[in-house]
């Protein structure tokens, strides 16, 4: 923040605005108006076909007072995000750090660890349903062979096991991505600080916590924030896990006892898959947005304040 280009004559002041124009224009055209449109929709009762009727904030009130499934979906989302975000960020940092310090073969490791992120989501859903399948799943086979289980366990019919599998999916999918971004940040760090620390006799452990972690603060804040925001909007992983055969063809059901029904999934169900309440589902999405904004704002403030003591 502190290092900014020095002031220029007035004429040059127009440049930053010009640089922003392509992005802002595209945003206004392709995102802002559709977003505004659904915001207005959220005050209506509309099934997409018949005359829409204005209901004011009733959609929002119903959501928080009558719709137990919505509250459950918020809880599920919070659980899934709260478990997956810290694990992925911390593991990503450690992985990047140890990768940074090995010389040979770093490229191969780095490349392969990014593969899950490249893998098509459909394939990820398939593979995890496959591994944790009740009848022929690899995981059950291992447990049975080792003698831990007498008979196959129906993982995907157990609420908490399902949640854990979703968390594993997310960590597996994003770890390489986090690691790569950390690695990119690590490589950009000034090496002279480390040289100086080494001269002072600091070991690797100390250097990691006293130098690396603080220097990577911007990246950590960035990853935490985006991961929280992404986590609160999560729906692809649980949906894919249960849209195959795990739910016996009942792709709209959020897992056993709706344990992994996230808020965005609920939005989809109400808008398209189980019902056609476009106004109501818009209200779901905007409520979620408000929650995400509040959470992110808090997290950002906390991160900044902690940083401010330096």
């Amino acid at each position: 923040m502190q290092r900014i280009l020095n002031m220029r004559p007035r004429a040059a002041q127009i440049w930053p605005y010009l640089f922003c124009i392509p992005f802002l224009l595209a945003y206004m055209m392709f995102h802002f108006f559709p977003t505004l449109y659904s915001f207005i929709l959220s005050f209506y009762d509309w099934n997409g076909i018949m005359e829409r009727s204005f209901v004011g904030v009733r959609n929002y009130i119903d959501l928080f007072t009558k719709d137990t499934m919505f509250l459950r979906s918020l809880k599920n989302t919070a659980i899934l995000m709260g478990l997956s975000t810290p694990i992925t960020v911390i593991l990503g940092l450690f992985l990047a750090n140890s990768l940074f310090h090995i010389g040979k073969g770093r490229m191969a490791y780095q490349t392969i660890n990014f593969f899950p992120y490249i893998t098509t989501p459909v394939a990820i859903g398939f593979i995890f349903s496959y591994m944790f399948d009740w009848q022929f799943g690899f995981i059950n086979q291992i447990f049975i062979r080792v003698g831990l289980f007498g008979e196959p366990y129906f993982w995907l019919q157990d609420p908490w096991a399902s949640r854990m599998i979703v968390v594993i999916m997310i960590v597996w999918r994003y770890l390489g991505y986090y690691m790569t971004l950390y690695l990119a940040a690590l490589t950009a760090l000034p090496q002279d600080v480390y040289e100086a620390a080494k001269v002072d006799g600091a070991n690797r452990f100390i250097m990691f916590f006293r130098i690396t972690v603080p220097l990577l603060r911007n990246m950590t804040i960035f990853l935490l924030l985006t991961s929280m925001i992404g986590g609160l909007q999560m729906f692809e992983e649980p949906l894919l896990l249960f849209s195959g055969w795990a739910n016996m063809g009942n792709g709209a059901m959020g897992g056993p006892d709706n344990a992994v029904l996230t808020t965005v999934w609920k939005f989809y169900n109400d808008a398209f898959r189980l019902d056609s309440r476009l106004g109501y589902s818009s209200a779901i999405a905007y409520s979620l947005f408000a929650i995400i904004a509040a959470v992110s704002f808090l997290a950002y403030r906390i991160a900044r304040r902690k940083g401010g003591t330096e």
Binding site: I4, M29, N113, T187
Partner: protein
């Protein structure tokens, strides 16, 4: 002693890497199986002999067309999105102007809006623009991706030395000149990163194409893969075959980029 210690990270990393690698590998392996044989128990670890049959099913399903469509969408999205994000990120990171903080907060807020919400409005708008018979709507959604701009802002702020830019300005370089000649070389890794991500996202996108595309000839790979299964028998073999063919070029490109990616940071950004 140092020799001895240095093996531990290798082994730990190797285990994690195997875990990371196996699922994608099995996708490739499963693509060579007759669908029902995938489920005979155990993890299929070696290739079977059904690849050509699966390939026939996949190619018979207009795969080439879908492939070209996806390629067009992803390449166009990458070019437009990277340009827009880099310019925006540069402006916010390196200039002082009135709306600077507003724009930054704006970016953060837009990231928080669940973007599924825009679907209906977006489709209505595309219809008004007369764009529905084309692939362009699938490109448009990626141009202004707040994540890209946010990432660029962070990256440029951290890794482009302001002194170099000031020096260039003193030498009489114009503002766009600074961006193209000074900033771009520094942020090549970031450009690659955002390009790769946008490519992946648009390549794998399913919901928006499902709703927007109303012509068989415009189907992208994910849509085409979804039609591989019949109603009551999902042809997982053919599905995995199609997925592995579609993901292979990305892996190759990534493997090539990956090398330059880290080197780019090491050689370009640090030593300047």
């Amino acid at each position: 002693m140092t020799q001895k210690r240095s093996w531990a990270p290798y082994i730990g990393l190797a285990i994690i890497t195997v875990i990371m690698f196996i699922p994608l590998y099995t996708v490739f392996v499963m693509g060579t199986y007759y669908s029902e044989h995938i489920f005979r128990g155990g993890l299929p670890l070696w290739f079977s002999n059904y690849f050509l049959e699966n390939l026939k099913v996949v190619l018979g399903n207009n795969f080439i067309q879908a492939y070209l469509n996806s390629l067009f969408v992803s390449v166009a999205s990458v070019l437009l999105s990277v340009t827009a994000s880099a310019l925006m990120g540069f402006a916010i990171a390196k200039y002082n102007f009135k709306l600077k903080n507003f724009f930054f907060v704006f970016l953060m807020i837009t990231m928080m809006i669940p973007n599924q919400i825009t679907i209906i409005g977006f489709v209505r708008e595309m219809r008004a623009f007369g764009m529905l018979g084309t692939l362009w709507p699938l490109v448009f959604v990626w141009i202004a991706h707040p994540f890209g701009a946010f990432f660029m802002t962070q990256f440029i702020r951290d890794s482009v030395p302001t002194e170099v830019m000031e020096a260039a300005r003193i030498d009489g370089c114009s503002e766009p000149g600074i961006f193209f000649r000074i900033v771009l070389p520094f942020i090549r890794p970031a450009l690659l990163t955002v390009a790769l991500l946008v490519f992946l996202w648009s390549w794998n996108s399913f919901m928006i194409p499902l709703i927007v595309i109303n012509r068989q000839a415009l189907y992208t790979i994910p849509l085409m893969v979804s039609t591989l299964s019949t109603m009551f028998r999902t042809d997982y073999g053919a599905m995995m075959c199609a997925l592995s063919i579609s993901v292979l070029p990305i892996i190759l490109v990534f493997c090539i980029c990956s090398k330059n990616f880290v080197q780019g940071i090491a050689n370009g950004a640090v030593k300047g």
